[in-house]
């Protein structure tokens, strides 16, 4: 997955492109025009002679030096002014480009997910349609005498339907792999990348406090999946602030986390990573905080959001053997912890090829 380019430098060609030919035409014309007008004015008022007279009118060399210095500093100011303006504009433009790219990248991710949802819905429909085919042909076949043509025909119907079911399964596997939801990643860099993305599109009223442990650690979620998890939680934190200024604190550290029922496949994992996302939003009551991961549960007004974000997040984390730790207080904010078990570094980061 391509990473967002840092500090996109404003080259001559891109400056031309961004400001447009019309602007440059005007700028060049203005320069030539202003120069001519200024020259005309100076000549008209015999500026050169006036200056010469002034220098001849007194014996003080220092005054002449000061006059030259003033002239020189005016010229220097013009250059420096131009330089400062260019630098400021360059910075503003590159920030805007970054923001747009981040937006596009998030949109692309969401489109892939939407496509996955579409495929999933199609698979659901197809499975539904195949159920009567298999159920009823098997039912009739059980009523037929064996080794009759009817029984044979019905058996063929059944086999064909089962092949269709297998195809649907394959399609689903392919769709998941294509979305980049399979695989593993290094949790530190992936988290940092996701946070950077979120920061670019978050409103400026939200301040981010980050504390990310850089020790290399691998978890069983793909980079894309982790991005979704973190973006979902940050989005929720931002929404909880309801436009008011606030702070989102994100901490990532390795922890040793041992509970009796932390056995996955019979092996207790004591090496975990904890990603903590604390916000100063409006907070939640106990009932609400218990239900946040349910599909379609949402406290937002109708029409905003699908209510699916957090349940998706839950599914991703649970699949990787992780868990959540949710604390919240109304009027204070929420503290959501994601715990993910570390996996062995022996695996490569690439998902299996289909």
């Amino acid at each position: 997955m391509a990473s967002i380019p840092r500090e996109k430098s404003l080259t001559l060609r891109s400056a031309w492109g961004i400001l447009g030919a019309k602007f440059w035409f005007f700028a060049i014309t203005a320069f030539v025009g202003l120069s001519l007008i200024l020259a005309e004015v100076l000549i008209e008022y015999e500026a050169f002679e006036a200056f010469y007279e002034y220098t001849r009118s007194h014996e003080s060399w220092q005054l002449d030096d000061i006059a030259m210095a003033v002239l020189a500093s005016v010229i220097a100011m013009v250059f420096v002014g131009a330089f400062v303006t260019t630098a400021v504009t360059r910075k503003l433009i590159s920030k805007e480009i970054e923001r747009q790219e981040a937006s596009l990248r998030i949109e692309r991710s969401q489109r892939l997910i939407a496509l996955g949802t579409l495929l999933g819905g199609t698979a659901h429909s197809l499975n539904n349609h195949l159920l009567p085919v298999i159920a009823l042909s098997d039912l009739v076949r059980s009523d037929c005498a064996q080794d009759t043509p009817h029984a044979k025909d019905l058996e063929m119907i059944s086999i064909a339907a089962r092949r269709a079911v297998e195809m649907i399964q394959k399609l689903k596997i392919f769709a998941r792999a294509n979305e980049g939801m399979e695989g593993n990643c290094l949790v530190g860099p992936a988290t940092s990348a996701a946070i950077e993305l979120a920061q670019k599109v978050a409103p400026s009223s939200v301040k981010f406090l980050l504390s990310i442990d850089k020790t290399p650690a691998r978890v069983g979620v793909s980079e894309t999946a982790l991005e979704i998890v973190i973006l979902n939680l940050i989005n929720n934190a931002v929404d909880a602030m309801e436009g008011m200024p606030g702070t989102i604190e994100i901490k990532l550290n390795l922890v040793s986390h041992l509970e009796k029922n932390d056995r996955r496949d019979g092996v207790a994992s004591s090496a975990w990573v904890r990603i903590q996302i604390n916000d100063t939003g409006k907070g939640m009551g106990l009932d609400e905080s218990k239900r946040i991961f349910e599909p379609f549960f949402t406290t937002k007004p109708v029409g905003t959001g699908t209510g699916l974000g957090l349940s998706e997040t839950y599914g991703i984390v649970d699949k990787a053997g992780g868990k959540f730790d949710v604390k919240s207080e109304i009027g204070v904010g929420s503290q959501i912890g994601i715990l993910l078990p570390l996996i062995e570094d022996a695996h490569s980061a690439h998902p299996a090829n289909i």
């Binding site: 997910i113 199609t122 499975n127 159920l131 159920a135 399964q169 939801m181 699949k319």
Partner: protein
């Protein structure tokens, strides 16, 4: 021989499963969504509920929650279309909400019937 409440929004699925269940000697009542199912559940409690998970107008999960809130001992078998929204796991929630069994469509008739028989034989769990 039991009274089964079958809940699914697909009419052909309702037809097919009704045929399979009655063929095995059960009595079947149908509902096309969770809302109607919960009404029927209260009016005429079945011995077992067989429900699809994703349906408009109150889906299977909400029905499950209602039933578990009623502290009912009636077993609920949840059917999944296998195409649940990518990244989410309805199965997880069905499990947490107290589904007695989960079965993925399309399934073998024999698998469905033996699961149902197994659940009907079980004595009610000690609360």
């Amino acid at each position: 021989m039991a009274k089964i409440l079958l809940v699914d929004d697909d009419e052909l699925v309702r037809y097919a499963l009704t045929r399979v269940l009655t063929g095995a000697g059960h009595q079947v009542e149908v509902a096309e969504n969770g809302l109607k199912a919960s009404l029927q559940f209260k009016l005429s409690p079945p011995d077992l509920v067989l429900t699809d998970v994703v349906m408009p107008d109150q889906d299977g999960l909400e029905l499950l929650r209602e039933i578990s809130e009623l502290n009912s001992q009636i077993p609920v078998v949840v059917m999944t279309g296998g195409g649940e929204i990518v990244g989410q796991d309805y199965l997880l929630f069905a499990d947490r909400l107290g589904a007695s069994a989960i079965i993925a469509k399309p399934f073998e008739n024999s698998v469905l019937l033996s699961k149902i028989d197994g659940l009907l034989k079980k004595p009610p769990a000690i609360p």
